[in-house]
Amino acid sequence: DTAVSQTPKYLVTQMGNDKSIKCEQNLGHDTMYWYKQDSKKFLKIMFSYNNKELIINETVPNRFSPKSPDKAHLNLHINSLELGDSAVYFCASSQEIPGTRPREQYFGPGTRLTVT
């Protein structure tokens, strides 16, 4: 029944490692997002994909690479992890049609990444 799911929920890893976070939505939405929420609870957009195409790519280090194999999935791969990457990463989805009114986003449960 879960609308937006992410795996894993927790990820503890060492600096320099490469890791991936997976996201899937079963809402039939066309647009998916990755957000980073830091320790101060500030939620900041990283990427947005619409129908598997990259729409938004914020000022994110190129160690972060999103991949959307189909419109129900948006995975996030992170190379050479750094201490500052520690945060909660949220995936979200919405039913957006370019040029029409914005829609609310549905968030996944988050992945807490800790880099030691």
Binding site: Y33, K41, S48, I56, R103, E104
Partner: protein, 112 residues
Amino acid sequence: EDKVVQSPLSLVVHEGDTVTLNCSYEVTNFRSLLWYKQEKKAPTFLFMLTSSGIEKKSGRLSSILDKKELFSILNITATQTGDSAVYLCAARGDTGGFKTIFGAGTRLFVKA
């Protein structure tokens, strides 16, 4: 630069109190303002506002938008301990695809 500013950053009230949370925004080609509630995990959607002066209500929660003053408020009446959460305000513009700018949130704690 686009930004969303929320106030207060934190608030402690007693059950039964009424609270007002504030959100001001500066977003290029503004399209909508959204409120989310975040408890322990994922933010959950509360309201989306696109027009000035039209109040949206859901139970004890209500929200209104002022597009002239670039401002929105979220009211919670007869607060309950279950209202304790971080309330996030977000604004959507019409540039940069589907970019949503979030505020830092207001952390509300309702004491029994």
